[in-house]
């Protein structure tokens, strides 16, 4: 991806359009070769060698073929990007478009065919990204010629946002109907649950980061507190999911206030560092406080949710009706299947996520929600207007943490087993990435980002070990084209009719 990051510096020049100044062909070739040399220097130790375990000894194998292929791909990619910027966007678009379609056809005809290229998927993705960039530049040129101040990306984002009124309900209907569709097998429902869990976490963190503007790198702590509270409360007191859920959420909210107090005076980087530390503290405490959390062994046999007291088991104990027996008796005959519990879990997390969303949408229109947004914009002005920044920040932390706690409880009841392993920093980073890439404060952006970031790696599973590479590439692409987030377009909470002036 080196060529892509280097390229950004040249991008503004490209936007100014048709061959304003034509760099010499030789220069472009030199530039591409230089990029290739950098790639070679990086790839030589990283890709060129690999260690292989042969019984008791470890030997080093060379992979110079793959290495040179990768370097060639990068140099060519750089050259293509330079040509796009030099004004040959249409030609490159045509070329790379034909190449990528041809490649897809080859795979469609002979699925094994892709294997003959060692970096098949990688080079295909590069060709596609070249095509995307070329398309973007040629569109950008046209909008520039029309004198539009708004970039094509912004216009797409604004359109999506406007369509959200229509798109949101469609997405919601799809989410409701998904488990009942014929193609929904265990894998689909599980993926749906995973995505929805992150949607909920994203919406919860959006309160803190998106609305109140407090950068929180330790959000996973509240997720962990929720999960452990649920596990311990449910196991110790024998409460069911719905009884223990509010308590777990309340405990997480308390931890939110606990974190909030020391960081009241901090802003920006310093706030991020302290919240990061908080997340680690919670994890380390859970890892070492054996009496409470059972340490690294984790807590198992966490009660699974039951459907109004009816468990999802094939053979319930005497005197208890299980869900499939009840369903067969009252509606129609079904046998036991593990997917029934998965579908039920799916609807629980859908409900919890929707509650989070509705709550956030409502509170944005209330004084406290507006105070959060104002605090994000300008803390000094907030003081001047009689807002109490202490309470405002603490409520934001508490409410964000509460939703994290709910999601954690759900995680615990879904897994049936939790350990500190599940609450690493990388979880915080993923949740934050969802919020930031979705466009801070945008609710529908969080959904799209979750689908891309959580669903994406699952869909890329066929890429095997290149999966995370593809994921990284996707992130880089988003950072290049939409650094402000996919849907960074804040909707006003109040409008007077008739609409005066452009919003």
């Amino acid at each position: 991806m080196a060529e892509a990051t280097v390229n950004t510096s040249a991008a503004p020049a490209a936007a100014t359009g048709a061959r304003a100044h034509e760099p010499s062909f030789v220069y472009l070739v030199k530039d591409a070769l230089a990029t290739g040399a950098i790639a070679l220097a990086l790839a030589f130790p990283l890709v060129g060698f690999r260690t292989v375990d042969r019984g008791s000894t470890t030997i080093i194998e060379t992979r110079f073929g793959q290495m040179f292929l990768g370097v060639a791909v990068i140099a060519l990619g750089r050259f293509a990007f330079s040509l796009i910027d030099a004004g040959y966007a249409r030609a490159i678009l045509a070329g790379s478009g034909v190449l990528s379609v041809a490649w897809l056809l080859l795979v469609a005809v002979d699925p094994g065919g892709a294997a003959i290229f060692p970096l098949g998927w990688m080079s295909w993705m590069l060709v596609v990204s070249v095509a995307l960039r070329a398309a973007y530049v040629s569109w950008g040129d046209r909008s520039e010629a029309r004198g539009d101040a708004v970039s094509p990306g912004d216009r797409v984002a604004a359109t999506v946002q406007r369509l959200a009124v229509f798109f949101g309900p469609v997405l919601l209907l799809f989410a409701i109907a998904m488990p009942l569709l014929p193609m929904a097998d265990q894998r689909w429902v599980d993926l749906g649950i995973l995505v929805l869990t992150y949607v909920m976490l994203g919406w919860g963190l959006n309160v803190v980061v998106g609305l109140a503007g407090l950068l929180d790198l330790g959000y996973v702590a509240f997720y962990a507190v929720g999960a452990y509270s649920y596990a311990i409360i449910a196991k110790t007191f024998g409460l069911n999911f719905w009884e223990a859920l509010p308590m777990a959420g309340g405990l997480a909210a308390m931890f939110g206030v606990l974190l909030g107090f020391p960081v009241l005076r901090l802003r920006g980087d310093y706030l991020a560092i302290v919240t990061l530390g908080f997340g680690e503290i919670v994890r380390v405490v859970l890892l070492n406080w054996n009496e409470l959390s059972n340490g690294p062994k984790g807590i198992g046999e966490i009660p699974r949710p039951s459907f109004f007291g009816m468990p999802f088991t094939p053979a319930p104990p005497q005197g208890v009706t299980s869900f499939h027996q009840w369903f067969s008796a009252h509606l129609w005959e079904i046998g036991f299947s593990p997917i029934q519990r998965a579908v039920y879990l799916y609807y629980i997390i859908l409900l919890l996520a929707l509650l989070t969303n509705i709550f956030t949408l409502r509170i944005r229109k209330l004084p406290i929600g507006r105070a959060w947004e104002a605090l994000r914009e300008d803390e000094i002005a907030c003081r001047a207007l009689g807002i109490n920044p202490t309470n405002t920040k603490l409520t934001a932390f508490a409410i964000g943490a509460m939703f994290g706690g709910f999601a954690g409880s759900f995680f615990a009841t879904r897994q049936g087993f939790i350990s500190p392993e599940s609450f690493n920093f990388i979880e915080s980073a993923i949740i934050l990435a969802i919020v930031v890439l979705g466009g801070m404060g945008s609710q529908i952006g969080v959904v799209i980002a979750s689908i891309v970031l959580i669903g994406g790696p699952e869909w890329f599973r066929d890429l095997e070990s290149y999966r995370m590479l593809a994921f990284g590439g996707l992130m880089v692409l988003i950072m290049i084209w939409r650094p402000q987030g996919l849907l960074a377009f804040r909707e006003p909470t109040i409008l007077l009719k008739p609409k005066a002036g452009p919003p």
């Binding site: 507006r370 207007l385 006003p492 409008l495 005066a500 002036g501 919003p503």
Partner: protein
């Protein structure tokens, strides 16, 4: 209405205010002029309780507000249009006004909104626009309008002319006079633009290095030789 009595304020070990006394009476426009770094803005912020006065008292409406938290002071009938305007850039004009109305009763909102739109018609036509996209003069108007939304009895204005074109400055000062006449609000204004400020004000104070060195009516100060030499001639 507002008495500042022997106030000392520190930033760390630096003494920004060295015993300031000011008296603002109900219905007046009072201007505080002085050079850059004299402590004018510090005085306004000390009245608002942030930073807090180390010595002396701030009395508003007969009540000592020196030790009260800022957000309570700002809800007790004082409004502050801070230096550099500090509007909320990503919020619309209307949302900015809503933020200003937090300290007021919600049922007054529509009435107050009409009132400030009457004073600033341009804001009415821009109400759906984001604050950050307004021009400098419009942003200053929005900052004043936002402060007015809390129905203040005392309006503190910090350099309303900062960074504005002369034509706009004139317009803003005209509106300040209108506000004083129409709403009977007392106005305490801090300015570097001494000429306009003193022409507008009933009374004025001159601050040098954290101390009040001169006081008088606006006309007196405008005519004063020292004031003319220091703040009016050569600079304009």
């Amino acid at each position: 209405m507002l008495q500042v009595q022997g106030v000392h304020t520190f930033y760390g070990r630096i003494e920004a205010l060295r015993g300031v006394d000011i008296d603002v009476k109900e219905g007046e426009i009072v201007a505080l002029i002085g050079a850059n770094g004299a402590g004018k803005s510090t005085l306004l912020m000390t009245i608002c309780g942030s930073p807090r006065a180390a010595e002396g008292r701030v009395v508003f409406d007969g009540q000592d507000i020196t030790r009260r938290p800022t957000h309570e002071i700002m809800r007790s009938g004082i409004a502050h249009a801070p230096e550099g305007r500090r509007i909320f850039p990503r919020m619309t004009v209307l949302e900015n006004l809503q933020m200003g109305a937090l300290a007021a009763k919600p049922e007054h909102f529509n009435e107050d909104m009409e009132r400030v739109f009457g004073l600033f018609p341009i804001l009415k036509s821009r109400q759906g626009q984001r604050g950050g996209t307004l021009s400098g003069g419009e942003q200053q108007m929005l900052a004043i309008a936002r402060a007015l939304m809390s129905r203040p009895r005392l309006l503190l204005l910090d350099e309303p002319s900062l960074g504005l074109a002369p034509m706009i400055v004139k317009h803003i000062f005209q509106i300040i006079r209108d506000i004083n006449r129409a709403t009977r609000a007392t106005i305490f204004l801090v300015e570097q633009n001494a000429f306009h400020a003193l022409k507008l004000a009933h009374r004025g104070y001159v601050m040098v290095n954290g101390k009040i060195t001169m006081a008088g009516t606006g006309q007196e100060l405008l005519a004063n030789r020292e004031v003319r030499a220091a703040y009016l001639e050569g600079g304009h």
